[in-house]
Amino acid sequence: MSPAGAHPVVVVGGGPAGMAAARAAAAAGAAVLLVDSGAALGGQYHRQNSLHGGREFTLPAGVEHLAESQVWALEPVPGGHRLHIRTGPADSPERAGRTVDTAALVLATGAYDRALPFPGWDLPGVFTAGAAQALAKGQGVAVGERVVLAGTGPFLLPVAESLIAVGSRVAAILEAGDPVTGWLAAPGGVVAGRRRLAELARYTALLARRRIPYHHRSTVIETHGTGRVEAVTVARLDARWRVLPGSERRVAADAVCVGFGFTPQLELAVAARCALAGGFVAVDIAQATSVPGVYAAGELTGIGGAELAAAEGELAGAAAAARLLGARLPAPVRALRRVREGRRFAAALERAYPVRDGWRTWPRDDTVVCRCEEVTCGELRRAVAERDAVGVRSVKLVSRAGLGLCQGRVCGRAVAELAGLDDPGAAFARRPIAAPVRLGELAEAPPDEPAEPSPGPQQHPTRLEREQP
C-alpha cells in the first residue's frame, strides 16, 4: 500500500455512529470516505422518508459520501485493509465496482432485529419490528391494519408510535419479559437514561390514550391464515418463557411484528479479524478493535441506542484520523463521558431484557427455522442427534441451515442455540462474502480471503442466480 496519508479514513455505515465518525475525522483534518448501502444518510434511527427526498443530514466538506454502496468484501492488505464496493441500484447487475485501501477504517455497520422462530413466523404478514419501523418511517406505509407487536425490549414502543402515525391499529403489545423496575430503579440507569425517561412517558401516555393493551410475560406463539396472517395465538409465559398451558387465546390481526432485541452486523469486522466479546466487536476506550487501524462504533459493539452510537462514532472517527495523520489530538472529553453513561444504560437495558431459553420450546418439528433453505426444527434436531453434527460447519452442511442467501443472519443465532453450539452469538458471523453479488460482477478480482475448508456451492452464495440442481 502507498503511504497512509494518500488514503482517506474510510467509514462503513451512514447511521448515527458512521455519520459522527465521519464528522469527527473530518474535523481533525483527515480526508474521509463514507460508504453506506442506503440511498440517504441516517441508518436505522435517523431513517428519512425517501418520498421526501432524504436530504436532512449533511456532512462537512472533506467527506465523500458514497451512497447506495455495499461493501461486499474486505481483506487485509499490507499496511491496512482493502474494501470491495459496489455502487448503484440494489442487486442490479449494472452496479459499478470499486476497491479502496485504507490504513484507518471505522466500521459502523449497525444491527438488525433478532427474531425467534415459532409456528407460522414465515407466513406473509409477519414482520420484524424494525421492518415495520423502516416502512413507516421511510415509506409512510403501514404493514397492516390491525397489528400485534411481540418481543422484548423498549424498541416495541417507538414502533407502536410509528404504526399509529401511519394509520394502523395496534391490537396489543406483548412484552415477553418482566416489568422493568430493575434498571429504572438503579441510580446509574436513571442518570444515564434520563432523556429516555421523557420518551418513555410519552409512549405511556400514547398507550393510555389509545387504550392499547400492554402485557408482560406474553407473546405470539403461532400465526394462522391461508397465504397471509389472519389471526395469531397469544399466550402467557412462565419465568423462562415456556408457554403456560391453558393461557392460549386467539386474536384477530393482519400483521405481527416481532423483535427480541438486535443482532450486530458483524461480517466485515470478522473479515478484518477483529476479536469479539459476547457476540459483539471488542473495543478499547478509543473504540479501537484488536486489529491495528480498525475502529468500531455503534451497535456493532453493543446495543445501546442512537445517542451512544453517535458518541462512540465521534471517538472512533477522531482516533482513526489521529492514526492516519500521525497527530496527537486533544481527548474528546465530552464524548468519552457520553459513552461511559451510555454504556451504563446499555448494560442496565441488557440486564432488564434478557432473552430466556424457554423460547426453544416454541417451534414444533414442522416449524421452519432457516427461512432461506426451508429447514425445519425437526430436521435440524435430527441432524444434530442422528448425524452427529457438532460445530457450525457440520451443522450447516448436514442440515443446510444458514446456507441460503441471508447466510444465517436471520436464523444463525437460533440454529446455534437449538443445536447447542458454543458462542451462539458469533457462531454464524463468518461470511467471507459480506453480501451476495452477481456472478458477472465477480469478474473483478475477488478477495483472496482463504475459503472455508471444502465450501459447498451454497456456502459461498457469491451469486444471486442460484445453481440449478
Partner: protein, 85 residues
Amino acid sequence: MRVRIDGVAVLAEPGRTVAGLLLAQGRNAWRTTREGGRPRGVFCGIGVCYDCLVVVNGVPDVRACQRLVCDGDDIRTQHGAELPS
C-alpha cells in the same frame, strides 16, 4: 413515474421502494420459495433477510425493500428459483 406490476400499469412516486409500492398496493407476498412454494414478502425490511425477492426488468433475486423504483420498471412476482430473462 409509471411502472408495471405483473403486467398491470401502476403510478409510483420518486423515492418509493419496490416493497413500499407493493405493500401500498395491498400485497404482502410476491415470491414463492424454491422448495415448498411458500409465499413470502417483507420480513426484515432492511436488506438483511433476502425474503422479499422480486424480478425487476427480467433480473430475479432483487431485494424489494432495498430497490428504489425507476420510471418504466417492469416488476414481476418471483416463482421459486428463476433465471434471468
